[in-house]
């Protein structure tokens, strides 16, 4: 039954222009970023070699390419998540789901997975760009996969936040504004210099956890950070829907 929810949501996502617009626009932006960083590397290659740097193409291009894209996706994801539950409520279809023999978590997860499919497709398409370099030079596939994985986790978290706020309201725009504000707060917490960061702010800081993926380090604490946020949002969205069914 959850598969039915996923399929229906995918049909609605790809039946609306938003998904295609996001796919197209992000392809265009990522292509632009990819080319400017590639060109930058070609220009600086001589200087780097003269300075005795061992920085290769992968180490130069991959972090510079994925870092801005992960930020962009972090803010695009709530836009995809904002209507997931809010639109069911405003379109009166929520009653259909609530009266069906399917658990609330299955409904929430089904909708989330459908939107995550779109984001995953987006990241795969973006990841193909640096991968094309492997036709001519040897690139560090591990670093590329890790950077893409970090970007994916980051987008998955943004989507979950969007979905949670979507469960609170009837208006998708309110859900988007709330989740973007929350993400901005988590981003800014880590924007001070290292001396200003306490253990708590370092733990909460989103960029702090994202950075390691781009520098080629896979730290389970960073993976855990995104997974915990995502799971928390999905659990809270389910709780919120269950709460609305109960007597206030």
């Amino acid at each position: 039954m959850m598969i039915a929810v996923v399929q229906r949501e995918l049909r609605s996502l790809f039946g609306a222009p938003l998904a295609w617009l996001v796919l197209g626009a992000l392809q265009f932006i990522s292509a632009y970023l990819f080319f400017i960083h590639l060109e930058d590397f070609l220009l600086q290659q001589e200087k780097l070699r003269a300075a005795g740097s061992t920085l290769g193409l992968s180490a130069f291009v991959i972090p510079r390419f994925f870092a801005p894209l992960s930020v962009l996706l972090l803010f695009v994801a709530p836009l995809l998540g904002m209507r997931l539950i809010a639109s069911e409520r405003s379109g009166a279809t929520l009653r259909l789901l609530l009266s069906a023999p399917v658990g609330l978590f299955a409904v929430v997860l089904g909708k989330y997975l459908a939107a995550l499919c779109l984001l995953s497709l987006l990241i795969v398409l973006i990841g193909f760009m640096p991968l094309t370099l492997s036709f001519w030079v040897a690139i560090d596939i591990g670093a590329l996969l890790l950077a893409a994985f970090g970007t994916w986790l980051c987008a998955a978290m943004g989507l979950a936040l969007g979905l949670f706020f979507s469960a609170l309201t009837k208006h998708p725009v309110s859900a988007a504004v709330a989740s973007l504000s929350m993400l901005l707060l988590l981003w800014l917490i880590g924007s001070g210099n290292d001396a200003q960061l306490t253990e708590v702010t370092r733990f909460l800081s989103l960029p702090h956890h994202l950075q390691s993926f781009f520098s080629g380090l896979l730290d389970t604490r960073d993976v855990g950070y995104f997974i915990v946020w995502t799971a928390l949002c999905l659990a809270l969205a389910t709780k919120q829907l269950a709460g609305q069914r109960e007597s206030p």
Partner: protein, 314 residues
Amino acid sequence: MDTEPLIKTTGLTRYFGRLAAVQQVDLAVRRGEILGLLGVNGAGKSTTMDMLCGVLAPSAGRVAIGGFDLAAQPRQAKRLIGYLPEHTPVYAELTVSEYLHFCARLRGLGRRASAGACETVLDKCDLQAVSKRLIGNLSKGYQQRLGLAQAFVHDPSVIVLDEPTAGLDPVQLQRIRDLIVELAESCAVVLSTHILPEVTAVCDRVMILHDGKVVHEGLVSALTRAAHRLTLRCARPLDTAALGAIAGVTGVTLSADGRATLDFEAHTNPAPAVARLAVEHDWELLELNAGQSSLEQTFVELTYGTAVDRTTSA
């Protein structure tokens, strides 16, 4: 008709904050029976229906569907329910077929079973011609029929319909009423409506809700029985004394337009005697009508009547 009710509620109550939207509603609907829920806007019909289908949890009381407690065994109970809420729950971006497949799968049917079930309901609701069209482009009438189609696509034992004929033209209205009666042969049906003749046309029993409480419950046939009143109109002047002498007649009143109204005792029928008298006295009988104690009358007395009383006392 089975003796065990398919829908059974006991002490069903729902609060929204301090407002008691539904209070102590007990109902039991058996297979083959159609219960009509009547009430003015805000009487608690939709809240009751939401609770029957598990959309809202009751603040107090229980709901059992086919013997399964809705709170303790929601999956088993919900598999038996088909629900058409007040606002048709459709996705504008899907086609009619896609939507029905989704609903069937959501209600637990397998891929093959849902394909067959969709074909059946498309035929029954006259939706074959629009099966490939986007729901967003359909008229309100089609969308309403689609909403009804999704409520029984999975062959449920219990069908709950909140104003099922809203937005339908008279021809569609009749077809949908016939369909509801047909569905009720194998199901227990609860429907709410504002259209009082619909209750008399479709329902076996009626429950009138007012301010969240049940103010009347009974058989529709009992509410629509003939009233103890006859009216007659004749071309020539009437003899009221002769009419008053008929056995069972308790009073005769003559109106300015020449009509006579006869009140009579229950379990008597003076109509044949009146007709005979008219022939004997050569009154040239033009009309002889039996008055009906309409459901409308009961409904207005129980709901608007109390509303008016409260306004005047306030």
